[in-house]
């Protein structure tokens, strides 16, 4: 498929565990975004990469959240010492170089912290 893929689709973690969420963007898309969507809410911006450079991480809620995209393609969002308030759907989106602003989303990873 040519769309954005994310894995795992569902993740259950015990409070205090570390988790890693993976995003494979559309091939050739230089920009990659992470969003957090709490239940019943709209997505909220977390961080943004252009190629391997993390240009904006203003939305990361705490220093427990870390994202990387070392080769400018696949990205990983890591959450350390998970807490119950981290429970949400984490959405990844990518967009192309032509700056038309359209972002294409993956199916998301639903994280439940127990």
């Amino acid at each position: 498929g040519a769309g954005v893929s994310q894995s795992p689709r569902y993740k259950v973690a015990k409070r205090g565990q570390d988790v890693a969420l993976r995003c494979d963007p559309i091939s050739g898309h230089v920009s990659l975004f992470w969003y957090q969507q709490a239940l019943g809410q709209g997505p909220e911006f977390l961080t943004y990469f252009q190629n391997e450079a993390q240009l904006d991480k203003s939305g990361l809620p705490s220093d427990r959240f870390f994202a990387e995209r070392p080769e400018g393609s696949v990205s990983t969002l890591k959450i350390q010492r998970t807490q119950q308030e981290d429970s949400a759907v984490y959405l990844c989106a990518s967009s192309s170089r032509d700056l038309d602003g359209a972002q294409y989303f993956g199916p998301g990873t639903r994280l439940t912290v127990t």
Partner: protein, 113 residues
Amino acid sequence: AQSVTQLDSQVPVFEEAPVELRCNYSSSVSVYLFWYVQYPNQGLQLLLKYLSGSTLVKGINGFEAEFNKSQTSFHLRKPSVHISDTAEYFCAVSGVGGNKLVFGAGTILRVKS
């Protein structure tokens, strides 16, 4: 900074009736505007976008939206809805040039037979 207000959290409508989902935005800079649809347990699918030019934008699945700069609105319309249009719809804004999206809280469209 930008913000988006979706005025209705839920909109019930009968099949084949017209529908309008309202969206207002606030921004100190020029913006791009988007509507996305989200079906249960799925990601967001782009319906349409406004970048510049004609204020009436046509999208997929028969939806259209009109950009009104003076009223800072970008309402989504469809002349005749189907059961399959039942989903949650999100209005979003970004600065010109394409960067992070700011979303509204969403409107759940429920189409009844």
